[in-house]
């Protein structure tokens, strides 16, 4: 089966930042969380997939097709939700729909009307009068109303309250019940992904740190807490990141079993959250 999204050795150079030949693959039927701190290259990657930015080298395939050669066919089957509102604020929901709908061959007006009423979006309301959460829901309604097979979301939950965020996550869980669809979801709010992601791709400073099933990631890694006198320089090297203070240390290891063999019962081992993984990989060793 063809992957729904395949990025190979993708490079984009800016004056002060480079996306460094990144590669990852996403299969149909899953939600992939794309995590990393601000400025890591998440939005750059998404813009390259959508050809909003021109790549310097590498290959991007969506639905098995080259994203430049088959740009229109691909975009016809992609739904996008961005953090910022890019719709015309002066227009009403109905007017905006009138402009967008004819562009998609699979536009389903009854689905759109259904989403508007589910999301409590009044069609005659101007986009500038919508709250941030409503704007996101409008983007989502547009993305879902042309039966997109791939949803690309760039920080869709940033700045939203927990109620709206949870609604979005529920909708995505529902969407993904169709095995032919996929959701690529970038965020720095990793708790959203703890709930729904199947795969995690982690990017930092323009490089992919890991791209792996979420359960595997959380099972393999471990958060180790213990007294400081257990640490020496050789042992520190076993950690991806470590936080030390005067009382003790807390660190992340990539191999839970190895850490267990090393420390035995002298430490406390916990399952990390995605946030711990992101923090320790990003920060490395740190003395507090």
């Amino acid at each position: 089966m063809e992957p729904i999204l395949e990025v190979t050795k993708l490079r984009k150079n800016f004056k002060d930042f480079s996306l460094k030949d990144i590669s990852f693959t996403m299969e149909k039927g899953y939600i992939m969380g794309f995590i990393g701190p601000n400025g890591a290259g998440k939005s750059t990657t998404i813009k390259l997939i959508l050809n909003l930015l021109k790549k310097d080298s590498g290959v991007i395939k969506v639905f098995g097709l080259d994203n430049l050669k088959h740009e229109m066919a691909i975009k016809n089957k992609i739904g996008f939700v961005f953090e910022e509102n890019y719709f015309y604020e002066e227009l009403t929901i109905r007017e905006m729909k009138k402009i967008i709908a004819p562009l998609y061959t699979n536009w389903d007006d009854s689905a759109f009307i259904k989403y508007l009423s589910n999301f409590n979006l009044p069609p005659q309301k101007k986009i500038k009068d919508l709250s941030k959460g409503m704007k996101m829901k409008f983007s989502l309604a547009v993305a879902l109303s042309h039966h997109a097979d791939l949803l690309i979301m760039d920080e869709p939950t940033a700045g939203l309250d927990p109620v709206v965020r949870n609604e979005l996550l529920e909708i995505l869980t529902y969407v993904i019940q169709d095995e032919n669809k996929g959701v690529f979801f970038s965020t720095h709010i990793t708790s959203d992904l703890d709930k729904i992601a199947d795969f995690i791709t982690f990017i930092n400073d323009g490089q992919i740190i890991l791209s792996i099933a979420k359960d595997q990631l959380l099972d393999q890694h471990a958060l180790v807490k213990g007294s400081k006198d257990l640490l020496d320089n050789d042992i520190r090297k076993e950690f991806i990141g470590i936080k030390e203070n005067q009382f003790g240390f807390e660190g992340l290891v990539a191999d839970r079993l190895k850490a267990k063999a090393l420390f035995g019962a002298h430490v406390l081992m916990e399952k990390p959250a995605l946030e711990d993984i992101m923090l320790f990989y990003t920060r490395g060793w740190q003395h507090v």
Binding site: L53, E71, I78, E84, Y86, Y88, E90, L91, I99, P102
Partner: protein, 219 residues
């Protein structure tokens, strides 16, 4: 493409109404303009609507949204050029309606109606101005092209007057005489055709430049 032109009209509904008011003002207050009133008013409102539509695109960062939709970049560029035709037609109809109504009111204003010469002159001016503006807009965006508006405005209004004056001063030299003789020997239809062809050539070159600039752009 049709949707994109519709979008430009929908986002500036109020501005279009304002441009009608502007025509009323122009027809009444600019009596000194004489027979160039119609082409000048047409050029002014067309340019205003073009620039305003670009301003709204910029304000809403529309490039990101439009280019995430299944629209070719070339369609986005082409739609802006075609929208000029819509503005020219709208402006002409509005000018005609307004001048006709004003004539009926019997107000003491001299009415300079829509004319084919005026239309040809207006087209040439509109073709020129927008052909210069669009490639800059598509290359540098709205904010950076804004200074160009000012330059174009002055070149258009003062430059044209200087050219006319220059020709007047040179009126006895042979090249002006040859040109005048040539123009006088042509029928109106022929002159109209030359103007249309010239406008189309300028716009085609401009379109090629705009396409090139926009195709390679990062958003």
């Amino acid at each position: 493409m049709y949707n994109l032109i519709l979008k430009d009209i929908l986002i500036q509904k109020k501005i279009i109404l304002l441009s009608f008011a502007y025509i009323v003002f122009f027809v009444i207050a600019m009596q000194g303009a004489g027979f160039v009133m119609y082409p000048t008013a047409l050029t002014a409102i067309t340019y205003m609507l073009v620039v305003t539509s670009c301003a709204y695109d910029d304000k809403n960062k529309a490039d990101v949204m439009l280019n995430s939709l299944p629209i070719k970049r070339s369609s986005i560029v082409l739609a802006k050029y075609l929208s000029v035709i819509v503005y020219v037609v709208t402006g002409t109809v509005a000018y005609w309606v307004i001048t006709t109504l004003l004539a009926l009111t019997g107000l003491p204003v001299k009415i300079y109606p829509v004319s084919s010469e005026g239309f040809a002159g207006g087209l040439l001016a509109i073709g020129f101005i927008n052909s210069i503006y669009f490639p800059f807009y598509f290359k540098f965006g709205y904010i950076k092209s804004r200074f160009l508006n000012l330059i174009l405005f002055f070149v258009f209004f003062f430059g044209l007057t200087s050219v006319v004056k220059f020709i007047y001063v040179q009126k006895d030299t042979s090249w002006v005489k040859i040109a005048a003789k040539f123009i006088n020997s042509q029928t109106d239809l022929q002159i109209f055709t030359y103007i249309i062809v010239l406008t189309l050539v300028i716009m085609a070159v401009s379109l090629a430049l705009s396409l090139r600039a926009y195709q390679g752009k990062d958003f």
